[in-house]
Symmetry: C2
Subunit: 340 residues, 2 copies
DNA sequence: CTGAAAGCGCTTACAG
DNA sequence: CTGAAAGCGCTTACAG
């Protein structure tokens, strides 16, 4: 009875041959006698031999693992992205190591350290809300480790990135509300330090401008934490102020849900009195018949990995870092569709 | 300019000392001259030295990593469990490697192989729906690798497990409906091959029996895939058959949502005409004001890791495998609360 | 206070 | 067709 997993050495000893031969027999190398090969393979099966990935990584200077730093995993959008990352990575024989920053700069830096220590072959990062100093990421690049950003674009570092077209998605969502006949559209905006928030706001404003509608700063409300409760409260307040409102474009689905609840509890009919559309960070939208902008997170994950593989394959540093912009797609549902 | 990450050897060479000394200086070993130590530490910082975790794992025969095999990560309950696993593991300096079976037996076996190949220090497993042959799991145990099951209990293997009290949760949920005055309670049951489905059904039946209510097999409906659409269709059908129904206990939240939608589109008022309670696999229940049974997934994840550490620490095999049963807690909300 | 050596599991260029 | 040796990065018992 042996304890632990079997090694090449164990097999070699039992068969009275060298490790080299066992290794070659297992890898179906040319120039190994069929008899030897068979006895090795049989014994390996009997003992359920599995190559030690750790030893292989050390020898090959390659772990076949990519590291992911992400703000939060318990989150529909991000978990969907991870799913895409895992599928694409697995199809190429890579493993994925995930680390959550929990929106904290310090934890993010720790994650990077852990992943670099684990010698991942490349890093996929979506920065935390807190992150503004980029030193920890610059180090990664300067050590020659491939780095790809996803979802949250980083300013001041020209690295490969894949993002969704937030501007266009917001523009289309706002235009959709206009098409439904809305005249006074509120924007529940996200935290100003995230580029995605700014892009979405720009899309909203451009759509209004293009349709010759006035921009009313009083109808742009910043939701700090993006929670349903916060949005409900702020929106309720706005309604009580007596402002004329007949449409809402929310920076994210949770905020949209908050607006939906506040509207209903104020006796407004959705979508007749007020049409609402969100932005699918959470994507439970289909379950509650909420119109939203679909971000194709799964595809984003896959694309991020593909770009990563390109970086890994690219020996010369000169390969230009590119920004891949994925389409966002508006999905009208019951909360905004007045026209059958 | 060096490429790749710095090693102890690089530092030793630059300082003209041995690797041993560098290693000891870095680890603050006693008996290293302060001058040497300082020069080593300074250089390590300058070059941003990080110990190679791969090399350490090989040397120590310990990866400080635990492997997780889980049906699906894009799932509120499971992702919550993972979150608990990660937090508890990280607090002990462990990493987590996650592998999705996607409810497939074959993929599950692959996951186990990958994780065993990666030499994780222990395995946390929630089996797929398909799994009935346990050979792949038996192997893990026979190779002396600590194994802990979570959420989905496995029959025919006495391994340490942590599960939620499905029976009690179902009992309480059903009793809650009875307390609300429901006389004809439907049970939307889950797939019969999962123990959790059976336990929940048993809880439902026991609650009815204890309150001297008849068991009507016609009110027990099996939902195969647990989707909202499937439940809505089946429930709609039941309503149209003219059966008198005033309560629903669903095996999971998606099915509960389906029943909710079917009820509303049939003109029934919830909770007045029909009271509905689910079981939080998805846990978006709070967002849609759906009554549900909270499973405390985060706590389950943490507990699973704690049990894993006990197994790792336990040298002797004799340590009995235990089953930890966590309380499920009913959370009444708008979909079932008739009494203010 | 410091170094040479061995070993974790594996592979492969070099001999034979 | 097979084996001995070296090396991936690190640590540590053993010498000095």
């Amino acid at each position: 009875m042996r304890s632990g997993q079997v090694t090449i050495k164990d097999i070699a000893k039992e068969l009275n041959i060298s490790c080299s031969t066992v290794s070659r027999a297992l890898k179906d190398f040319p120039g190994i006698s069929p008899t030897t090969k068979k006895s090795v393979v049989d014994l390996a099966n009997k003992y359920n031999y599995r190559p030690n990935a750790i030893a292989l990584s050390l020898r090959n200077q390659k772990t076949n693992t990519i590291g992911v730093v992400i703000p939060e995993t318990v989150h529909f959008f991000f978990s969907t992205v991870i799913s895409g990352i895992e599928d694409e990575a697995m199809s190429e024989g890579y493993n994925v190591m995930i680390c959550q920053s929990r929106e904290s700069y310090e934890r993010e830096a720790d994650c990077i350290d852990t992943l670099m220590g684990a010698r991942v072959d490349g890093l996929l990062v979506s920065i935390s809300r807190e992150t503004s100093d980029l030193a920890h990421l610059q180090k990664v690049v300067s050590e020659g480790k491939p780095l790809v950003f996803f979802d949250r674009l980083v300013e001041g570092m020209n690295a490969t990135s894949v993002v969704v077209d937030d501007y266009q998605g917001a523009y289309d969502a706002t235009k959709h509300l206009i098409d439904q006949g809305c005249k006074h559209i509120v924007h529940l905006e996200g935290p100003d330090n995230l580029i995605i928030s700014r892009k979405r706001k720009e899309g909203y404003i451009s759509a209004l401008e293009d349709h010759e509608m006035p921009i009313d700063e009083g109808l742009i409300i910043e939701c700090r934490d993006g929670s349903e409760a916060e949005a409900a409260k702020l929106f309720q307040h706005l309604l009580e102020s007596g402002a004329a409102i007949d449409g809402v474009f929310a920076n994210n689905d949770m905020a949209a849900l908050g607006a939906l609840q506040a509207s209903k509890s104020s006796g407004l009919k959705v979508p007749e009195d007020i049409a609402i559309i969100g932005f699918s960070n959470w994507q439970f939208s289909s379950l509650i018949d909420l119109s939203s902008v679909e971000q194709h997170g799964y595809e984003m994950g896959r694309e991020a990995v593909r770009l990563m593989f390109q970086e890994i394959a690219n020996e010369d540093e000169s390969a230009k870092s590119q920004i891949r912009i994925l389409d966002a797609e508006i999905v009208p549902r019951g909360s905004s569709s007045r026209i059958a």
